[in-house]
Symmetry: C2
Subunit: 168 residues, 2 copies
DNA sequence: GCAAGAAACTTTAAGCTTAAAGTATTTTGC
DNA sequence: GCAAAATACTTTAAGCTTAAAGTTTCTTGC
């Protein structure tokens, strides 16, 4: 059914030379995914000692950058997740005493959330650890590798955004 | 509390020159994550026209590579997810008529799953589309970029595995 | 053989995530 | 002013995911 199966190719033939074949891109995507999942799973595992999940950590990171706090909708757009998602995360973090939730003074539909003192303390300890974990995970790369990866991933990101409809 | 806040740095100072600082690695991790999530979300969105989710697609891909089928435990280890996860995925795929489930002839605890004829047909159509989507997403990268990214991600993966306890 | 342990699942409880629909409030356009 | 549209959030239904505990069925070591 596929024409590609009808073309015998020796080992020397470059994938790119066969029109319509994109095995190289497929392999790249698989490796990108594997790599990210591997690291993400490790970070999640290690965060557990602080009794915090990765999405909660991410939410707290947003609040730490904005000490005045922000409404749920802003969290939603900054974290690029649905608003219903934020509702649940905020609920659990309030329960944990890590964030505070108060009505907005200017809009009775909105609520402003911000880190509590304990939340700030907890987040800073986690962030310090987190930075160390990431450094450890990427210890096998030197500065040149990191720069090169940043550049190539930047290019990949742009390419993906273009293919994705962009909206930027 | 942090010593880093006590060191004033002008804009020229390279991050790498400050010992104990790993902002470059942190930025790299963030970009890696953003890039992967961007692509993954797009693939998930496009897969929906086939009425299949990404994990179901992945499971079917495993079965397509092994036409004789395999027990759930093997799916679990190949896909690197929990066994309880596979139970649910298999259940839904059987319901959809895309895979078959039969008792193992040699082990009454085990079940062998394999693609149905419809599953094979559906998977092949999806896989063809999928390859095209990936090609489109990475269209902004040339062959040299792809090779370089593969190599660097390979290095990153190895580094991460080392830091993760490896077990390989 | 048979008891003890291992293995192949399944179940449960909890959390993350989304899309879609619903509620309350504010803003906009006359 | 007021109706209509937009906005901020919540709720619901469905699915993915895990860890931990439970069940059934092998396998192993005497």
């Amino acid at each position: 059914m596929e024409d590609t199966t009808l073309i015998p190719l020796d080992a020397e033939t470059k994938v790119a030379e066969r029109p319509g074949d994109h095995k190289a891109e497929l392999r790249l995507w698989l490796r990108l995914l594997t790599c990210t999942n591997l690291i993400e799973a490790e970070i999640r595992r290690r965060l557990r000692v602080h009794d915090v999940t990765l999405p909660r950590f991410d939410l707290m990171a947003q609040l730490e950058k904005n000490p005045a706090g922000m409404p749920l909708g802003e969290l939603s757009s900054r974290m690029m997740v649905s608003n219903g998602n934020i509702t649940g995360l905020v609920e659990r973090l309030v329960e944990q005493g890590l964030i505070d939730r108060r009505p907005s003074p200017r809009d009775r539909r909105a609520q402003i959330v911000s880190l509590t003192a304990e939340g700030r303390r907890t987040f800073r300890a986690m962030a310090r650890d987190h930075e160390g974990w990431i450094a450890e995970i990427f210890a096998g790369l030197d500065a040149a590798d990191i720069d090169a990866l940043m550049a190539l991933l930047g290019k990949a990101k742009q390419s993906a955004q273009q293919a994705t409809g962009d909206a930027a």
